[in-house]
């Protein structure tokens, strides 16, 4: 016996990932603790009122979360994302967080930070999260509260964020880019970059509601940026724009995919699963096609991952419009299209979404790519 015994290693250096990918292990689990939220953001695809009794009754229990986590860990899971709604609305948030942490999971939390209190910070200080992601909707009270539609939320957000930053908890900041904050987006980026050195991202894609609420969907659509606005925003961030270009070059020749008619070619259900607040298992947090949802309360996460998901990933499209259009489009990697989003937009996983196509074309044009899009 010789040499050194235990080596500190950062996550991205670990050699295990290749093996796990090869064996199709489940690497991460997303747990949506609640669909309820203290805010009422106009663009949100999930939020229900904080006092929604029916939704609360359906929420995952701590025992169920623990069972799911145990199963996920048996399948290899190392990461767990806690999200919502607003996860801090759960009175047992600390118990859930600590349970997952003490199992050895690397836990990330998505929160709006408005409900953060000293006790949460103390918990995070003692048991550090992998990271906490906070969305910055605006950096003025007017913009922030126009989006959250909750009076006083800007002040509570700032207090919560300061608590985290003062305690040196690893925080990542992000924003959703939309009509209501577009005028402030540079200030938001500055605000975020001043507070977190290594990370800031914006997302220009506003997803439609999981519950299909048409009134709320109208609000979401009204907040969406135009393709030109999205491209202008992306071009203002050279690193992001370059990443898009590289992605396009690297993945647009997906020849092997063209010969099969499977609808799902993305990573949905491959290496991760999403457990929604009402104990339903989804291949990804956006995939709400009823045929692709597994009831955790009637089965098990292991069964979902090892038996249900592979079947779903084998579903073929018989939609000629899809097969002759999006499926073979060389701009697919510049497009916001994916089966989950298509289902939310038009009710079919293999549906065509004009808005997405327009964004892809605008991005291609900005990159100087001249391609004739099928259809």
């Amino acid at each position: 016996m010789t040499d050194s015994f235990a080596s500190p290693i950062s996550l991205n250096e670990i050699q295990l990932w290749d093996k796990m990918k090869e064996k199709k292990s489940m690497i991460s689990l997303e747990v949506e603790l609640t669909a309820r939220c203290n805010n009422d953001c106009s663009h949100c695809y999930v939020n229900l009122p904080a006092d929604d009794v029916d939704s609360r009754k359906r929420e995952l229990t701590l025992d169920e979360i623990e069972t799911a986590a145990d199963e996920a860990m048996e399948l290899g899971t190392m990461w767990c994302l806690i999200t919502g709604g607003e996860p801090l609305l759960r009175e047992d948030f600390s118990d859930i967080y600590l349970t997952l942490k003490k199992k050895g999971l690397l836990v990330s939390v998505f929160t709006n930070a408005c409900l953060l209190r000293e006790e949460h910070v103390e918990l995070f200080r003692r048991y550090p999260p992998r990271d906490i992601e906070v969305t910055v909707y605006g950096v003025t009270k007017q913009t922030y509260e126009h989006i959250t539609r909750k009076k006083g939320s800007f002040e509570t957000f700032k207090q919560g964020l300061d608590l985290l930053l003062d305690a040196r908890i690893k925080v990542r900041l992000k924003t959703m880019a939309m009509k209501s904050n577009l005028h402030e987006i540079e200030e938001i980026a500055k605000f975020c970059r001043e507070r977190t050195k290594d990370f800031f991202r914006f997302d220009p894609f506003l997803q439609l509601r999981h519950d299909g609420n048409e009134l709320r969907n109208q609000l979401i659509r009204s907040e969406r940026l135009s393709p030109q606005e999205i491209v202008a925003l992306e071009r203002s961030d050279p690193a992001r724009f370059n990443a898009l270009e590289i992605q396009c070059q690297k993945l647009s020749n997906h020849d092997s995919d063209l010969h099969c008619h499977h609808i799902i070619h993305c990573g949905a259900g491959r290496g991760s699963l999403s457990l929604s607040h009402d104990a339903k298992i989804h291949l990804c947090s956006s995939l709400y096609d009823p045929n692709c949802i597994y009831d955790f309360r009637s089965g098990s996460l292991t069964d979902a991952y090892t038996k249900f998901v592979p079947k779903i990933r084998m579903i073929d499209s018989g939609n000629q419009e899809f097969l002759q259009r999006c499926h073979i489009c060389s701009l697919i990697n510049l497009c916001m299209w994916c089966p989950a989003r298509a289902h939310l937009e038009v009710g079919n996983m293999d549906g065509f979404v004009d808005y997405f196509c327009q964004v892809a074309r605008a991005r291609a044009e900005a990159m100087g790519i001249t391609v004739s899009i099928p259809g």
């Binding site: 016996m1 015994f5 235990a6 080596s7 290693i9 991205n12 670990i14 796990m20 003490k102």
Partner: protein
């Protein structure tokens, strides 16, 4: 001054770490703060370390572990002793192991 581990002592993984075996890798995951000094730090344990780690059950002293290893490995007892002490010393210093 560094506290030296001794052969007649018993060590176990700290309550603030979780030891996981994933595929053929043994990984030590710090759960609480104060262990490790870089972001996302985990610890991978090499083959020799794994053999020792599996014997840190709260009953075996380090001397017991050396004796057990000497039945399994064709290595001089002095080397096994050095390795066991070295391994435990390294992890004890990082607070991944605690003395019982």
């Amino acid at each position: 001054m560094e506290e030296k581990v001794k052969l007649d002592e018993i060590y176990i993984p700290s309550q603030d770490v979780v030891v996981r075996q994933i595929e053929d890798e043994m990984i030590i995951i710090p759960v609480a703060s104060g262990i490790g000094n870089m972001e996302d730090e985990l610890y991978t344990v090499n083959k020799n370390g794994k053999a020792i780690m599996k014997l840190l059950d709260g009953k075996n002293s380090l001397q017991d572990i050396v004796a057990e290893l000497s039945e399994k490995y064709d290595a001089p007892p002095g080397e096994l002793e050095r390795d066991t002490i070295g391994f435990v010393q390294e992890l004890f210093k990082r607070r991944l192991l605690v003395r019982v």
